[in-house]
Symmetry: C2
Subunit: 146 residues, 2 copies
DNA sequence: CCGAATAATGGACTCGTTCCAGATAACTGA
DNA sequence: TCAGTTATCTGGAACGAGTCCATTATTCGG
């Protein structure tokens, strides 16, 4: 889903972020890349679009966008950070144990499952993160073939 | 809760693992250290007990023990891997956003909440991992004071 | 259009973890 | 009990992800 530069610009402004070429490119990259891209692929795409961009520009952009809530960062065990533009609805993820691919999963049990642990041990809890682990269709096919 | 060497030895044998000093020390370290220790503290304790032990011995031990299911590895976003001896009951964790401390949380909703996502997107799911995020009592106190 | 403040560059660096080849120790069967 | 086989441990080098730094370039308010 390609986003217009103006649209992204507006979103940045709404969050009091300076509008820079790299930020626009970073946001668009995350929005347009399928799945939940990692920094690598995001940087690659940003460079395709801008010609060049330092690694830091990408990291900084991702951090800034994540901080204001325009992006969400997920970090499944054993794989580098991944980013997505779907924010604010507390959906969950399935992660492939073999290739690391991540996909969205809508919350099964309703609004906020498991969000009310019986004993929080004194912690002030503000979020419940659910990660499903399994094997994606592709890897299942390959495994069956092997 | 100190464990006798014999007890640990037996557990290793049950899982067809060779019984070595480092493995025993690694398992005991995880069992005896409070919370969910990371490799650092585990290695430190192992060295206290054995005199010396290479980093790899610790990593290898942890991996071997985790593979057979004697240990469980948790990897909260933004913090190094942590290990625990409580296995096989699919409990969950709260992680402090500030200091990274992790504590157990018994499953709130019963046996296996959220384990039946409406749409798995073709993934063969085998585990649902729940992580609660919040602030631990210690850090809350410090923050209040600051 | 200028100037203060924020972002980007690029290069060095940290941290957690893994890889490697050689030395060592644990189990097997006689 | 001992030798052989095989897994494990050592020490050191290496790797990937991510951060830090000083300098240069941009953005945006006035």
């Amino acid at each position: 889903m390609p986003l217009s530069v103006d649209e992204v610009t507006e979103r940045l402004r709404e969050h009091d972020l300076r509008v820079t070429a790299s930020r626009i490119a970073v946001y668009s990259a995350v929005a347009e890349l399928p799945g939940h891209p990692e920094v690598d692929s995001i940087a690659e795409r940003v460079r395709d679009q801008l010609g060049t961009a330092s690694t830091q520009a990408v990291y900084d952009g991702l951090r800034a966008l994540t901080e204001v809530g325009l992006l969400r960062r997920i970090e499944p065990a054993g794989s580098p950070a991944r980013y997505e533009t779907r924010v604010g609805d507390n959906h969950h993820h399935v992660v492939c144990r073999i290739c690391g691919a991540a996909h969205d999963i809508d919350c099964a049990v309703g609004a906020a499952p498991c969000l009310d642990p019986s004993d929080a041990g004194g912690f002030a809890i503000d979020e419940a993160e659910v990660t499903f682990w399994g094997v994606c269709p592709d890897c299942r096919a390959k495994k069956g073939a092997a």
